[in-house]
Structure formats: structure tokens, C-alpha cells
Subunit: 308 residues, 2 copies
């Protein structure tokens, strides 16, 4: 599925003309238009992105807006407005109220006006949100600006959503904080803006998982990275594996040349300090160093366990 | 289905705060944000909006962008950029190439940059496009500005798409121009801009059909209208009924106080003259006058035939 997704977007990117200088088209967390206007879309569809046994239609409405705002956060931007396209499952029109309530709640609590929509009855519940926002004064933080020597940060613990989902699938009771995060993620908008103001050189939101998403950032920047396994914060119930491969936490990963400036900026903003988890390197490899002194390449799906 | 659609949007509208003065939220062809930025979304889903027996996935990609641009046209605006969210039917990944090709072709030929996307495999082919654009200098033309005495215009023949679809369903060969229009509609962007420049007081795109869409415009404006049946242009193979009730032609309907100014502006722009089909009236009724001298209320689904 992911390979299909990347293939489709890569196909689009190749077929489209280059965007004008200073603008960004397909391939970053959002597009950047004239005047620094940010523009992005994300689709959530039943069976792939959510399971109605564990999330209500209202949770789905919330999440559809939240994951789009996470893309704005990853540019260091501020959201301005969103529109939603909703396919309601046939025979389940009652879900419409619930989806609308979740969208409206997210719009109010996350601070983004909901200004339009289209809806239809179809095969499966699908909520597609598109969002516009404004770049920070210093300019949108792209994926492509990381330089060797920069520090790599994540804004919070990772893998909790993956761990919670695994517990649900086994019929167990997941950690309530992790479960709330899985159902109603909170985009790291203030963290993204603070990172931008602190000189972040590149940023991405962790929707697919640290291994995969940091790989995108490194490829876009033409760099590698070395991560310290012991420094990667794991969410409730999560292993280091979960933290590396679990998406759906919607924390941000960013690089910055000056860790002290980052720490100061987050402290002044009253935010939890982001965790420094490694260093940007020359070359193309993303390596994970373990406390025992070993070092292995990180695969998109997470840590490839060495055969011992 | 339509009642469900309107109910969902009405629910959203009621639950959302009022937009700031000068801005427009849910309920017009597009939202109007700060600075006159236009923002809209439309969903096309298999089984409801298209049938893959008669349209290719490339046609669907084209149409998904075109119908969004039609919303921009209905504000008198100019499109700036679009993003797409695509659900590919499971087991039919081969359609991805074709959908992408249709989107890219529409972006190039209709003059709107395609700047981002998200894609996933799911239950049925669904393409959701969102578009941003800019208002004309005179301000976006809303649905709510029609005044008694204004003339009512449509930008071209109506009902051809509905007639073509009916022929396809009977196994026949539809008119090729109407079929091309059904598969790959062309949004009336220049016509919309010209109408705005000629003083249009209200405008809407005819996606659901003249009866239904003019009803929306009249309710938003707090007015009625009287149409002359003989003046309504019917597309190839279409009856007056088709012209009243058939959506999917993506012509525009607008009102304007000065028909001479409209005619001049369209002539100067090198466009076909829009057809004057009636007059805005005080009150709330939308009436259809027939050549025999009768006059009947127009229902959303088209002309309600009088029982004789």
C-alpha cells in the first residue's frame, strides 16, 4: 500500500511542471504557494486508516482534520482554514452526525476554521480534508534543508499508538493516554512554529514512523543520519521497535544546527523540550547505534534486527 | 443521497461559528477567506458520480479537477492550485497511472497547478480534489446578491450530459459532443470572470441541474424567479426536462442588473453570449412560463408536470 502511495505521488511529481522559484509542489509535507501559502490534503479511509471497532466516526472526523494540521505543523506554519470531503458508508447515514461533530470539535479545539465540504454516500467511510495555512515569517521549513552536523530532534515519545493498536487487536486494554492519542491525535502546531523560530533546517511529521519519515527527510536533504537507540523516547507500552516503525503518533522530527537555541526556544514557549536523538551526517545512510556499541542501517519499516 | 448531502452540510454550517465579516464559510460554491482567497472541495466516487463502463479512470481524474474549477468559476475567480486525495479500488492499482494522467492533463489544459496529493488503496475509486483561487478585483460573486428585476442567464446549453447518460444506459450511441462533456467537462472560468466584470449580482455552477441550483441561488438571495421555458437552451439530444433537471453540464447560472453590459462584456471577451432565460422576482417562488401561457412552480428535480 505504501509503495503504491509513493509510486502514485512520484508519478504525479514527474509528470508535473517544476513549480516557480521559491514555491514547492508535490513531495513535502505541504505545497508552498505564492506568498508562502501552505496547502495540503490527507485521506482517511475505513479499513486502512481506522477501524470502527476502536474509533467512533467522531474520532475519524477529528483525526482527519488533525493529520492535515500536522502537515502544516511540519512546515512551521499556522493553519488558516480547512475543507472536508466525506464519503459516508451506504446504509450508515447515521454516522454523518458523528463525523460532523468530530470535525467541528477538532476545528474549534485545534484552532482551524472549517469553511466548506462536500459529502456523498458510497462504499466505505472516507474523510478527505484539505487545509491551507501560512508559513512562518522565516519561511516554511522544508524536508530538504538538513546539513551534516545538525542535531536531530523529535518532539515527543513515539510508538504509543502502534503499541495501543496491537493491544486492541489482541483484545486487551491499552494505555489510556496512548489510546486517546491513537483516536484523537493532537498536531504539534506550537512545537513546529517554535522549531522554525529556533532555526530548524528541515522538518517532517511522523505519520508513517521515524524510520520511514526520517528516511524521506534525509533523501530530500541529500544527507544521512546517525541515531542513538537509547535516546529515542518510547511512548506508553512501546518498545524501541515500536518507536522506530510506528506511525500515527503525529510528533515532529526536525534538524537544527544549534541545540542550545532549540532548548531555549522550547523553554520560553513553555513546551516540553524536544529529545535530541542523533546527528545529521554526510552520505546517505541512516544508522542506528545501540548502547552495546553496534551500528546498523535503519530500514523504512524500522530497525532491521541484526542476525547474531 | 442529495438530501443526505444537504443535511450534512447544513449540520456543519449550524455547528460552526459565523465567519468573520467579509468572509464566507460553508454554503456557497467556495469559501471566501481573508484577502479574497477562494477554497473549495468536491468528491467524486464510483457508482454515484461516474461509471467505469463509460468513463476511464483518466476521465475521472480530469473531471475531479474540472468540477472544482467550476466552483471557482462560479465565484468569478481564477484558480491558483489544487491538491488531490485518491482512493484506488483494491486490486485495481493499475488505475493509478490513468487517474494521475487525467489529473495532470486537466491541470495543464485548464490552467491550475496541481501541487500535492495523498493516495491509498480502499473500497472504491474516489477522487477528492480541493482547490484554492483568487477572487476577482470586484470581489467574489456570491449566491446571495440577486435582486428583483435582475436578468437570469445561463452560459450554455443544458441537459446534454443527462441525455447522453440516458442513451448510454439504454445501450445506444450518444451525441459525441454531449458524451465528451459528460466525461471531461470544461469549467466556465472565463465566462465566470466575464460575468463578474459585467456586474453579475449572484452566480452558481449548474452541477445538480438548473431547477435545483437556481433554487439555491434564490433562497440565498431571498428572491424568486420567473423563467421562460422557450428561452432555456437545451444541449444535444436534451429535452426541456433534461435541461431543467440535468446536472453535470457545468455551465454557470448568474443574475445581473444590466443585460446590455453582459452582452458587451461577453462579446469583447470573444465568448458565446449567455442566454437570458428569465427575471428575478420578489417573493420566493421559482416559476416556469410556457409558450402556451401557463406558469408552474419549478421543483428541485425539474419541472413538475401539471396534471391535465
Amino acid at each position: 500500500m505504501l509503495s503504491g502511495e509513493f509510486a502514485f505521488l512520484e508519478r504525479l511529481r514527474r509528470a508535473l511542471p517544476e513549480p516557480p522559484a521559491g514555491q514547492v509542489g508535490v513531495g513535502d509535507d505541504t505545497a508552498v504557494l505564492d506568498g508562502g501559502l501552505l496547502f495540503a490534503t490527507d485521506v482517511l479511509t475505513e479499513g486502512t486508516h481506522f477501524d470502527l471497532r476502536w474509533s467512533t466516526p467522531a474520532d475519524v472526523g477529528w483525526k482527519a482534520l488533525a493529520v492535515n494540521l500536522s502537515d502544516i505543523a511540519a512546515m512551521g506554519g499556522a493553519p488558516r482554514a480547512a475543507v472536508c470531503g466525506v464519503v459516508l458508508g451506504a446504509g450508515r447515514k447515521g454516522e454523518a452526525d458523528d463525523v460532523a461533530a468530530g470535525l467541528v470539535a477538532a476545528a474549534a479545539e485545534l484552532g482551524c476554521a472549517l469553511v466548506g465540504g462536500d459529502t456523498v454516500v458510497g462504499a466505505a467511510l472516507t474523510v478527505t480534508v484539505a487545509v491551507v495555512g501560512d508559513s512562518p515569517d522565516s519561511g516554511a521549513v522544508l524536508r530538504s534543508g538538513a546539513r551534516p552536523g545538525d542535531s536531530v530532534f523529535v518532539t515527543g515519545p513515539l510508538g504509543g499508538s502502534k503499541a495501543a493498536l496491537a493491544v486492541l487487536r489482541r483484545g486487551g486494554e491499552p494505555d489510556p493516554v496512548a489510546l486517546a492519542r491513537l483516536r484523537r491525535p493532537v498536531p504539534r502546531l506550537l512545537e513546529g512554529r517554535t522549531a522554525a523560530a529556533a532555526g530548524a533546517s528541515a522538518m517532517i511529521d511522523l505519520s508513517d514512523g521515524l524510520s520511514s519519515d526520517l528516511g524521506h527527510l534525509c533523501r530530500a536533504s541529500g544527507v544521512g543520519a546517525r541515531l542513538e537507540a537509547a535516546a529515542i523516547p518510547a511512548g506508553p507500552g512501546a518498545t524501541v521497535d515500536d518507536a522506530l516503525s510506528g506511525g500515527d503518533d503525529y510528533e515532529l522530527c526536525f534538524t537544527a544546527p544549534d541545540p542550545v537555541r532549540v532548548a531555549e526556544a522550547f523553554a520560553v514557549a513553555g513546551l516540553h523540550l524536544p529529545a535530541p536523538i542523533g546527528t545529521v551526517t554526510a552520505g546517505a545512510d541512516v544508522l542506528l547505534s545501540t548502547p552495546s556499541g553496534g551500528s546498523w542501517p535503519l530500514a523504512p519499516s524500522g530497525w532491521e534486527h541484526p542476525v547474531e
